[in-house]
Symmetry: C2
Subunit: 195 residues, 2 copies
């Protein structure tokens, strides 16, 4: 049975990731050394290299699993409901789930989107939203019809706007509930629409 070894492996990786996250709250990613990580984790520096190629690999894996987590979280929703919702003034279902997931992983999002560590996660998250979220909304023939703006610009505009809301929420230490945030998102989008 190799399960126990796998478990040890996982626990060590978890410890590394947790302590790395703590360090990222204090320091810039660039200034966190593998030394720092191994000391904080009470682990030999060599052990770190048994699990990760380097600290970039560590960061990459953490970002990746955060995004696939979000993907799985969203998969539970029917994929094409959004369009219908949108026409009913009810985009909220998707949005509220995104905000909920962020709430479940506050520390990660605050660090990865924070002032210090804006290494690549911002762009990555943006791409994610374009693929999983905004594209569906924009490709809806009715929702944005009558607007002569290229689709890539519209995507980037809408996605960044949504991200802006999220960033502000994180800056405010999640003062609002996920539902309130979704509500806000809808209000802004439809304010615009119904003025």
């Amino acid at each position: 049975m190799t399960a126990i070894y796998d478990e040890m492996n996982e626990k060590t990786k978890e410890k590394i990731q947790n302590n790395f996250l703590q360090l990222l709250k204090e320091k810039n990613f660039m200034k966190v050394s593998v030394q720092d990580i191994s000391i904080a984790t009470n682990i030999n520096r060599g052990t770190f290299y048994l699990h990760y190629q380097d600290k970039y690999d560590l960061l990459d894996q953490m970002e990746e699993s955060l995004l696939t987590g979000l993907e799985m979280h969203l998969e539970r929703l029917q994929p094409d409901i959004l369009l219908v919702e949108a026409e009913q003034g009810n985009i909220s279902m998707h949005a509220v789930e995104v905000f909920r997931y962020i709430q479940m992983n506050t520390a990660y999002f605050q660090v990865f989107l924070g002032d210090n560590n804006r290494v690549g996660f911002h762009k990555r998250l943006k791409l994610f939203f374009v693929d999983h979220f905004i594209e569906k909304m924009i490709k809806n023939k009715d929702f944005f019809k009558g607007l002569a703006v290229p689709q890539d610009y519209l995507s980037s505009f809408a996605t960044s706007a949504f991200l802006g809301l999220i960033e502000q929420w994180l800056d405010n230490d999640l003062a609002e509930s996920p539902s309130e945030m979704a509500e806000m998102y809808i209000q802004i989008i439809f304010f615009i629409r119904n003025l």
Copy 2:
């Protein structure tokens, strides 16, 4: 007369900045060493430290001067015209100047907002827009009246959306003209309004 020495000083700093910019096109900021910079600039490594504390300081100064350059560029416009413009469906004046300035400094913006070097400039530029641009629009009693969303969220939303447009423009290698971009911005904003 000390002017000549000042000039030497400036020319060296310029050379450093130019070569640093080239290096940033090829490599991640973290992977550009002071060695690399001094070699590319044909300068002794010690000389670099006569001008900058470290490479962070260099990046910081370049970002700073890019932003103050934008500030100066915008100052030539009357500060309160925007509000009037907005009500006339004519925000473009400010927007077009921003796009024009970006066009004048394409390389800098592409590098500082590019995938590799999203160190802190994104947030910095966002703050700039909030201070100089969006706040004026949002504080306009009429423009966003009837929308029950906290001002900080509205700021973040609108600014990020604007930045999204810029990022897409840079990704597209400035395929559109500044005026076209401004036009696009207006269209999106007012589409929304007049639908």
